[in-house]
Symmetry: C2
Subunit: 153 residues, 2 copies
Amino acid sequence: MNTNIDELQSVFDKKIPITQSIKIKVKEFNNNQLELFAPLKENINHVNTAFGGSLYNLAVLTGWGMVYMIQQENNLDGNILIFDSSISYPKPINTDMKAVCDVSLQLEEIKRFVKTYNRKKLSRITLKVNIFDNNSNCGAVFEGTYVLTANNN
Amino acid sequence: MNTNIDELQSVFDKKIPITQSIKIKVKEFNNNQLELFAPLKENINHVNTAFGGSLYNLAVLTGWGMVYMIQQENNLDGNILIFDSSISYPKPINTDMKAVCDVSLQLEEIKRFVKTYNRKKLSRITLKVNIFDNNSNCGAVFEGTYVLTANNN
Protein backbone atom coordinates (compact mmCIF):
# COMPACT_ATOMS: atom_id res chain seq x y z
CA MET A 1 0.00 0.00 0.00
CA ASN A 2 2.80 2.43 0.91
CA THR A 3 4.39 1.87 -2.49
CA ASN A 4 1.22 3.13 -4.13
CA ILE A 5 1.08 6.17 -1.87
CA ASP A 6 4.72 7.02 -2.57
CA GLU A 7 4.21 6.60 -6.31
CA LEU A 8 1.19 8.89 -6.32
CA GLN A 9 3.05 11.50 -4.24
CA SER A 10 5.92 11.31 -6.71
CA VAL A 11 3.57 11.82 -9.69
CA PHE A 12 2.11 14.90 -7.99
CA ASP A 13 5.53 16.31 -7.05
CA LYS A 14 7.15 15.72 -10.44
CA LYS A 15 4.30 16.31 -12.85
CA ILE A 16 2.02 18.91 -11.25
CA PRO A 17 4.23 21.64 -9.73
CA ILE A 18 1.38 23.43 -7.97
CA THR A 19 1.04 20.48 -5.55
CA GLN A 20 4.41 21.45 -4.09
CA SER A 21 3.45 25.11 -3.69
CA ILE A 22 0.38 24.16 -1.69
CA LYS A 23 2.14 21.26 0.11
CA ILE A 24 -0.34 18.50 -0.65
CA LYS A 25 0.55 15.12 0.87
CA VAL A 26 -0.90 11.70 0.10
CA LYS A 27 -1.76 10.21 3.50
CA GLU A 28 -3.56 6.90 3.22
CA PHE A 29 -5.03 4.46 0.73
CA ASN A 30 -6.97 1.30 1.52
CA ASN A 31 -8.46 0.27 -1.85
CA ASN A 32 -11.78 1.99 -1.27
CA GLN A 33 -10.62 5.22 0.30
CA LEU A 34 -7.90 7.73 -0.50
CA GLU A 35 -6.92 10.55 1.86
CA LEU A 36 -4.85 13.63 1.05
CA PHE A 37 -3.67 16.33 3.44
CA ALA A 38 -2.95 20.06 2.98
CA PRO A 39 -1.79 22.62 5.55
CA LEU A 40 -3.75 25.82 6.16
CA LYS A 41 -0.67 28.08 6.06
CA GLU A 42 0.11 27.83 2.33
CA ASN A 43 -3.58 27.80 1.44
CA ILE A 44 -4.92 30.69 3.42
CA ASN A 45 -7.13 33.50 2.12
CA HIS A 46 -7.96 37.11 2.97
CA VAL A 47 -10.10 36.14 6.00
CA ASN A 48 -7.62 33.56 7.36
CA THR A 49 -9.58 30.51 6.26
CA ALA A 50 -8.75 28.01 3.52
CA PHE A 51 -8.83 29.58 0.05
CA GLY A 52 -11.65 28.12 -2.09
CA GLY A 53 -9.25 27.53 -4.98
CA SER A 54 -6.91 25.50 -2.76
CA LEU A 55 -9.82 23.40 -1.52
CA TYR A 56 -10.72 22.76 -5.16
CA ASN A 57 -7.12 21.77 -5.97
CA LEU A 58 -6.98 19.39 -3.02
CA ALA A 59 -10.33 17.85 -4.00
CA VAL A 60 -9.61 17.51 -7.71
CA LEU A 61 -6.26 15.86 -6.96
CA THR A 62 -7.85 13.44 -4.48
CA GLY A 63 -10.29 12.28 -7.15
CA TRP A 64 -7.46 12.18 -9.69
CA GLY A 65 -5.42 10.10 -7.26
CA MET A 66 -8.28 7.63 -6.83
CA VAL A 67 -8.48 7.16 -10.61
CA TYR A 68 -4.68 6.69 -10.61
CA MET A 69 -5.00 3.95 -7.98
CA ILE A 70 -7.75 2.23 -10.03
CA GLN A 71 -5.51 2.52 -13.08
CA GLN A 72 -2.52 0.95 -11.28
CA GLU A 73 -4.53 -1.89 -9.78
CA ASN A 74 -6.05 -2.80 -13.13
CA ASN A 75 -2.91 -2.29 -15.22
CA LEU A 76 -4.54 0.35 -17.41
CA ASP A 77 -2.50 2.72 -19.57
CA GLY A 78 -3.80 6.16 -20.59
CA ASN A 79 -3.95 9.63 -19.12
CA ILE A 80 -6.37 10.83 -16.47
CA LEU A 81 -8.00 14.21 -17.15
CA ILE A 82 -10.68 16.15 -15.29
CA PHE A 83 -13.70 16.71 -17.54
CA ASP A 84 -16.05 18.78 -15.39
CA SER A 85 -16.78 19.33 -11.73
CA SER A 86 -18.71 21.23 -9.11
CA ILE A 87 -17.82 22.26 -5.58
CA SER A 88 -19.68 23.86 -2.69
CA TYR A 89 -18.29 25.25 0.53
CA PRO A 90 -20.67 24.54 3.42
CA LYS A 91 -18.42 25.92 6.17
CA PRO A 92 -15.11 27.86 6.27
CA ILE A 93 -12.05 25.80 7.26
CA ASN A 94 -9.58 27.39 9.66
CA THR A 95 -7.28 24.42 10.40
CA ASP A 96 -5.17 22.07 8.28
CA MET A 97 -7.38 19.93 6.11
CA LYS A 98 -8.00 16.35 5.00
CA ALA A 99 -9.67 15.30 1.74
CA VAL A 100 -11.38 11.93 1.46
CA CYS A 101 -12.52 10.08 -1.65
CA ASP A 102 -14.48 6.95 -0.67
CA VAL A 103 -15.60 4.60 -3.44
CA SER A 104 -17.02 1.82 -1.22
CA LEU A 105 -20.43 2.27 -2.81
CA GLN A 106 -19.10 2.50 -6.38
CA LEU A 107 -17.38 -0.85 -6.82
CA GLU A 108 -19.66 -2.02 -9.63
CA GLU A 109 -19.25 1.32 -11.35
CA ILE A 110 -15.47 0.97 -11.13
CA LYS A 111 -15.68 -2.48 -12.75
CA ARG A 112 -17.67 -0.95 -15.61
CA PHE A 113 -15.17 1.93 -15.87
CA VAL A 114 -12.28 -0.56 -16.22
CA LYS A 115 -14.16 -2.77 -18.68
CA THR A 116 -15.10 0.23 -20.84
CA TYR A 117 -11.51 1.46 -20.88
CA ASN A 118 -10.20 -1.94 -21.91
CA ARG A 119 -12.72 -2.07 -24.76
CA LYS A 120 -12.66 1.54 -26.00
CA LYS A 121 -9.47 3.09 -24.58
CA LEU A 122 -11.74 5.85 -23.31
CA SER A 123 -13.82 5.75 -20.14
CA ARG A 124 -15.19 8.17 -17.59
CA ILE A 125 -16.15 8.03 -13.93
CA THR A 126 -17.70 10.53 -11.50
CA LEU A 127 -16.20 10.66 -8.00
CA LYS A 128 -17.10 12.55 -4.84
CA VAL A 129 -14.58 14.11 -2.48
CA ASN A 130 -15.24 15.74 0.89
CA ILE A 131 -12.78 17.97 2.74
CA PHE A 132 -12.75 18.12 6.53
CA ASP A 133 -11.10 20.36 9.10
CA ASN A 134 -9.33 19.03 12.22
CA ASN A 135 -12.67 18.79 14.03
CA SER A 136 -14.25 16.67 11.27
CA ASN A 137 -16.42 19.55 10.03
CA CYS A 138 -16.99 19.34 6.30
CA GLY A 139 -15.74 22.46 4.51
CA ALA A 140 -16.01 21.39 0.86
CA VAL A 141 -18.17 18.99 -1.13
CA PHE A 142 -16.75 18.17 -4.57
CA GLU A 143 -17.98 16.05 -7.45
CA GLY A 144 -15.85 15.58 -10.54
CA THR A 145 -16.00 13.54 -13.71
CA TYR A 146 -12.65 12.14 -14.82
CA VAL A 147 -11.78 10.75 -18.23
CA LEU A 148 -9.18 8.05 -18.76
CA THR A 149 -8.02 8.23 -22.36
CA ALA A 150 -5.29 6.76 -24.52
CA ASN A 151 -5.41 10.05 -26.44
CA ASN A 152 -4.02 13.27 -24.93
CA ASN A 153 -6.49 15.65 -26.61
CA MET B 1 -8.47 52.34 -13.67
CA ASN B 2 -4.86 51.31 -13.11
CA THR B 3 -5.21 52.14 -9.43
CA ASN B 4 -7.97 49.57 -9.15
CA ILE B 5 -5.90 46.95 -10.98
CA ASP B 6 -2.89 47.58 -8.74
CA GLU B 7 -5.04 47.40 -5.62
CA LEU B 8 -6.57 44.10 -6.68
CA GLN B 9 -3.13 42.68 -7.53
CA SER B 10 -1.93 43.79 -4.11
CA VAL B 11 -4.87 42.08 -2.36
CA PHE B 12 -4.10 38.85 -4.23
CA ASP B 13 -0.35 39.04 -3.49
CA LYS B 14 -0.70 39.93 0.18
CA LYS B 15 -3.79 37.99 1.22
CA ILE B 16 -3.91 34.86 -0.94
CA PRO B 17 -0.36 33.44 -1.12
CA ILE B 18 -1.18 30.82 -3.76
CA THR B 19 -1.64 33.58 -6.35
CA GLN B 20 2.09 34.26 -6.16
CA SER B 21 3.01 30.58 -6.58
CA ILE B 22 0.99 30.36 -9.76
CA LYS B 23 1.94 33.87 -10.93
CA ILE B 24 -1.53 35.26 -11.54
CA LYS B 25 -1.54 38.85 -12.85
CA VAL B 26 -4.42 41.30 -13.08
CA LYS B 27 -4.29 42.64 -16.65
CA GLU B 28 -7.22 44.88 -17.45
CA PHE B 29 -10.44 46.28 -16.07
CA ASN B 30 -12.96 48.45 -17.90
CA ASN B 31 -16.00 48.48 -15.57
CA ASN B 32 -17.77 45.62 -17.33
CA GLN B 33 -14.85 43.30 -17.96
CA LEU B 34 -11.96 42.03 -15.87
CA GLU B 35 -9.03 40.09 -17.31
CA LEU B 36 -6.47 38.03 -15.42
CA PHE B 37 -3.40 36.28 -16.82
CA ALA B 38 -1.51 33.14 -15.77
CA PRO B 39 1.55 31.53 -17.36
CA LEU B 40 1.52 27.87 -18.43
CA LYS B 41 4.88 27.05 -16.82
CA GLU B 42 3.84 27.25 -13.17
CA ASN B 43 0.45 25.71 -13.92
CA ILE B 44 1.36 22.71 -16.01
CA ASN B 45 0.14 19.15 -15.51
CA HIS B 46 1.29 15.59 -16.27
CA VAL B 47 0.44 15.91 -19.99
CA ASN B 48 1.98 19.38 -20.42
CA THR B 49 -1.31 21.26 -20.55
CA ALA B 50 -2.78 23.62 -17.95
CA PHE B 51 -3.68 21.83 -14.71
CA GLY B 52 -7.46 21.82 -14.09
CA GLY B 53 -6.92 23.04 -10.53
CA SER B 54 -4.91 26.03 -11.75
CA LEU B 55 -7.61 26.90 -14.28
CA TYR B 56 -10.09 26.79 -11.40
CA ASN B 57 -7.86 29.08 -9.30
CA LEU B 58 -7.56 31.58 -12.13
CA ALA B 59 -11.32 31.50 -12.79
CA VAL B 60 -12.43 31.75 -9.15
CA LEU B 61 -10.07 34.69 -8.59
CA THR B 62 -11.30 36.48 -11.71
CA GLY B 63 -14.87 36.29 -10.44
CA TRP B 64 -13.68 37.28 -6.96
CA GLY B 65 -11.85 40.24 -8.50
CA MET B 66 -14.99 41.38 -10.33
CA VAL B 67 -16.93 41.37 -7.05
CA TYR B 68 -14.02 43.31 -5.49
CA MET B 69 -14.30 45.94 -8.25
CA ILE B 70 -18.08 46.20 -7.72
CA GLN B 71 -17.43 46.54 -3.99
CA GLN B 72 -14.88 49.35 -4.51
CA GLU B 73 -17.01 51.27 -6.97
CA ASN B 74 -20.03 51.19 -4.67
CA ASN B 75 -18.16 51.78 -1.41
CA LEU B 76 -19.34 48.53 0.13
CA ASP B 77 -17.62 46.97 3.15
CA GLY B 78 -17.74 43.23 3.84
CA ASN B 79 -15.82 40.15 2.77
CA ILE B 80 -16.20 38.32 -0.52
CA LEU B 81 -16.45 34.53 -0.29
CA ILE B 82 -17.05 31.86 -2.91
CA PHE B 83 -20.23 29.93 -2.11
CA ASP B 84 -20.39 27.28 -4.83
CA SER B 85 -19.22 26.83 -8.39
CA SER B 86 -18.91 24.57 -11.38
CA ILE B 87 -16.28 24.32 -14.09
CA SER B 88 -15.94 22.38 -17.32
CA TYR B 89 -12.90 21.97 -19.52
CA PRO B 90 -13.93 21.93 -23.20
CA LYS B 91 -10.36 21.85 -24.59
CA PRO B 92 -6.86 21.44 -23.11
CA ILE B 93 -4.79 24.64 -22.93
CA ASN B 94 -1.12 24.43 -23.89
CA THR B 95 -0.14 28.12 -23.88
CA ASP B 96 -0.27 30.91 -21.30
CA MET B 97 -3.84 31.75 -20.46
CA LYS B 98 -6.24 34.67 -20.05
CA ALA B 99 -9.40 34.63 -17.92
CA VAL B 100 -12.28 36.98 -18.70
CA CYS B 101 -15.26 37.92 -16.56
CA ASP B 102 -17.69 40.07 -18.55
CA VAL B 103 -20.72 41.50 -16.75
CA SER B 104 -22.07 43.67 -19.61
CA LEU B 105 -25.33 41.72 -19.56
CA GLN B 106 -25.64 41.73 -15.76
CA LEU B 107 -25.80 45.43 -14.96
CA GLU B 108 -29.32 45.31 -13.50
CA GLU B 109 -28.34 42.26 -11.46
CA ILE B 110 -25.32 44.12 -10.09
CA LYS B 111 -27.57 47.03 -9.04
CA ARG B 112 -29.78 44.57 -7.13
CA PHE B 113 -26.68 42.94 -5.60
CA VAL B 114 -25.48 46.33 -4.30
CA LYS B 115 -28.96 47.34 -3.07
CA THR B 116 -29.42 44.04 -1.23
CA TYR B 117 -26.02 44.36 0.43
CA ASN B 118 -26.75 47.89 1.59
CA ARG B 119 -30.05 46.72 3.10
CA LYS B 120 -29.08 43.34 4.58
CA LYS B 121 -25.25 43.36 4.77
CA LEU B 122 -25.47 40.05 2.92
CA SER B 123 -25.84 39.60 -0.82
CA ARG B 124 -24.91 37.09 -3.49
CA ILE B 125 -24.20 37.15 -7.19
CA THR B 126 -23.42 34.50 -9.81
CA LEU B 127 -20.68 35.31 -12.33
CA LYS B 128 -19.31 33.52 -15.38
CA VAL B 129 -15.64 33.34 -16.30
CA ASN B 130 -14.11 31.91 -19.47
CA ILE B 131 -10.43 31.05 -19.88
CA PHE B 132 -8.75 31.28 -23.27
CA ASP B 133 -5.44 30.16 -24.70
CA ASN B 134 -3.22 32.38 -26.89
CA ASN B 135 -5.27 31.42 -29.95
CA SER B 136 -8.58 32.44 -28.33
CA ASN B 137 -9.69 28.83 -27.85
CA CYS B 138 -11.81 28.44 -24.74
CA GLY B 139 -10.28 25.94 -22.29
CA ALA B 140 -12.45 26.45 -19.22
CA VAL B 141 -16.02 27.58 -18.56
CA PHE B 142 -16.64 28.58 -14.94
CA GLU B 143 -19.71 29.74 -13.07
CA GLY B 144 -19.47 30.72 -9.42
CA THR B 145 -21.77 32.22 -6.80
CA TYR B 146 -20.09 34.75 -4.52
CA VAL B 147 -21.35 36.05 -1.23
CA LEU B 148 -20.56 39.50 0.11
CA THR B 149 -21.06 39.47 3.83
CA ALA B 150 -20.38 41.70 6.81
CA ASN B 151 -19.94 38.49 8.80
CA ASN B 152 -16.88 36.26 8.33
CA ASN B 153 -18.62 32.96 9.01
